[in-house]
């Protein structure tokens, strides 16, 4: 069915050769936190820092001109990938900064009595930013309830949507369960019932496979979308958001500094148009160029084949864990990976703490993450403090799943054996 070859795909990621050379077992199942970095990304950044290092947007000399063109070309690459106008792409230091810029900018218009609805499956970045900036204006932050599987409860949401709702903050794909929100459906419902609401989508977990959604961002009934390069085979230190220009034009900037102004004086300072308004100071130039290289790399991939491969692995892992007979194992969000779901397998085993499982699995080079995954309200929804997460990317193989399953079994034996 799919011709995708994960072992060939590994050739794009120098980490595998490096770990082989070091003789280190390497079953990287933590791509939901940060993916590995693709070779063209590392090369593009080292090349830029070697040959064209200069500040952007400031000087007219060759190096500055080249750096600016490379930086702006990265913006073009991102705009093409997400199908947006280039002026609607704002480069940031990551999803978190992006969401805070959006929260601050949109909160300017809020007042007491206004409501901000925040999906309870959100990452803290899409919760705390609203608690800080919207609450300062007197708005109420209300969670959107979840179904037992951790998906948005559409009936509950429908009942919450009124004229008073000014913001709805959603996560496109949960970083715990992998469940995907149907943005068309939920967005249309919000547009219909809460016409004053801006819809903000945390895309950190969906951006890596954007072509899967077969739509341009502006064609969705949403207003903002944020993501981070380090979850897209790109560098740390850079991310972006897309926003509708008519909304961005009315948003004050969270960060003041160089480049984002039209003129500065002690009598009053004028702010530049978006996206510049939100890009205060020297941007993460080299990282933006690495981000562009990463998205260039993503653009050439067969995302459908990769997702099919990833989800097959996830389903196997989930099914095997759920079938461990004597154990009380919960797969957060259920074991069904047949549709609308990214390959994140989070699980909890009664009596075995995630940190202990992860630490013991590390013995055999299995890299998983244990904790609340910066999603404490969702953990609370599942009645848990923490879970273990195996997150899967295209370079993972059935061998990685076997290693994970064996490592988890060994850990359980040790932890339960005493």
């Amino acid at each position: 069915m799919t011709s995708f070859d994960p072992l060939a795909f590994r050739n794009h990621f120098p980490a595998f050769a490096a770990m082989r050379d070091e003789g280190r077992d390497f079953h990287y199942l933590d791509s939901g936190a940060s993916t590995l970095v693709a070779a063209p990304v590392i090369a593009a950044m080292a090349d830029h820092d070697t040959r064209l290092r200069a500040n952007v947007h400031r000087s007219v000399h060759y190096w500055a001109e080249q750096a600016t063109q490379a930086f702006e070309a990265a913006r073009d690459t991102l705009a093409a990938y997400f199908g947006t106008p280039r002026a609607e792409i704002v480069l940031t230091s990551g999803t978190t900064q992006a969401l805070n810029i959006i929260a601050y900018g949109l909160s300017d218009g809020l007042q007491t009595g206004d409501e901000v609805l925040v999906a309870a499956d959100n990452h803290h970045a899409n919760i705390v930013s609203w608690q800080i900036h919207a609450a300062a204006k007197g708005a109420t932050i209300t969670p959107i309830a979840l179904t037992p599987l951790g998906q948005i409860d559409e009936d509950a949401l429908a009942a919450q949507l009124t004229d008073k709702v000014r913001i709805v903050a959603l996560s496109h794909i949960s970083n715990v369960t992998g469940w995907e929100v149907d943005l068309n459906k939920i967005g249309s419902m919000i547009r219909a019932k809460a016409p004053n609401a801006a819809i903000i989508v945390d895309g950190a977990q969906s951006a890596c496979h954007w072509p899967l959604f077969e739509t341009a961002l502006p064609d969705l009934p949403i207003d903002f979308y944020a993501c981070s390069a380090h979850k897209m085979f790109g560098p740390t230190g850079v991310g972006m958001f897309w926003g509708r220009s008519d909304l961005m034009e009315n948003m004050p900037p969270l960060l003041g500094g160089g480049e984002m102004i039209t003129n500065v004086s002690f009598d009053g300072t004028g702010f530049a148009q978006p996206p510049t308004r939100f890009e205060a100071g020297t941007p993460p130039i080299t990282q933006a160029i690495g981000f562009g290289a990463a998205v260039g790399f993503l653009t050439g991939l067969d995302h459908r084949a990769i997702r099919a491969h990833e989800v097959t692995l996830a389903a196997t892992l989930a099914a095997t864990l759920a079938a461990q007979p004597p154990l009380d194992t919960t797969i957060l969000g259920g074991a069904d990976f047949s549709r609308d779901r990214a390959p994140l397998v989070s699980f909890a085993i009664t009596g075995c703490h995630p940190h202990d499982i992860c630490q013991l699995a590390d013995r055999s080079g299995v890299a998983m993450r244990g904790g609340h995954h910066c999603a404490q309200p969702l953990m609370g929804h599942f009645g848990l403090l923490a879970s273990t997460r195996a997150s899967i990317a295209g370079y993972n193989t059935p061998d990685d799943m076997d290693a994970a399953i064996n490592a988890i079994k060994d850990a359980i034996n040790l932890l339960k054996g005493t």
Partner: protein, 149 residues
């Protein structure tokens, strides 16, 4: 390299053309625009004829040679022009900057010298600033005279 072409004789001549420098005593419209990158400033005064053509134009420019040349060329080629021609020229110059070539209206062929600026994206704004100020000044005049095309 291409900087050589950038500062060609025609450009310097256009920049030095002082015939439309200064302020108008009784403009119909005015506008000041500055460049956030370098702090440059241009103030344009205009009058509009009843048929909305540009009957008078002056500029006061604290700016680089590119901006001065652009402001000078507007004076020497667009005084008397219709609003349509101004807009067309503005668009064509933008295209020339972005693509290195473009079809300029016959009266405005002189702006072809800016093709040499294409590779210097940091300088595009210098060339376009006078056009932005002109557009704003025209709007200002139309708002004041209640006359809109």
């Amino acid at each position: 390299m291409s900087s050589l072409d950038l500062y060609q004789r025609d450009l310097l001549r256009a920049a030095a053309d002082a015939s439309h420098a200064g302020r108008l005593p009784r403009p119909d419209g005015s506008a000041t625009v500055n460049n956030p990158l370098c702090g440059d400033k241009i103030t344009i005064d205009i009058t509009l004829a009843p048929d909305n053509t540009l009957s008078a134009y002056t500029h006061e420019t604290e700016a680089c040679v590119l901006c001065q040349a652009s402001a000078g060329l507007i004076g020497s080629t667009l005084e008397g022009a219709t609003a349509t021609l101004i807009t067309e020229t503005h668009q064509a110059v933008t295209q020339v900057l972005e693509q290195g070539s473009g079809t300029l209206p016959t009266q405005a062929k002189g702006f072809g010298i800016f093709a040499a600026v294409t590779d210097h994206t940091a300088r595009h704004a210098c060339v376009l600033m006078p056009f932005e100020a002109l557009t704003q000044a025209v709007k200002d005049a139309q708002a004041k005279t209640g006359n809109s095309s």
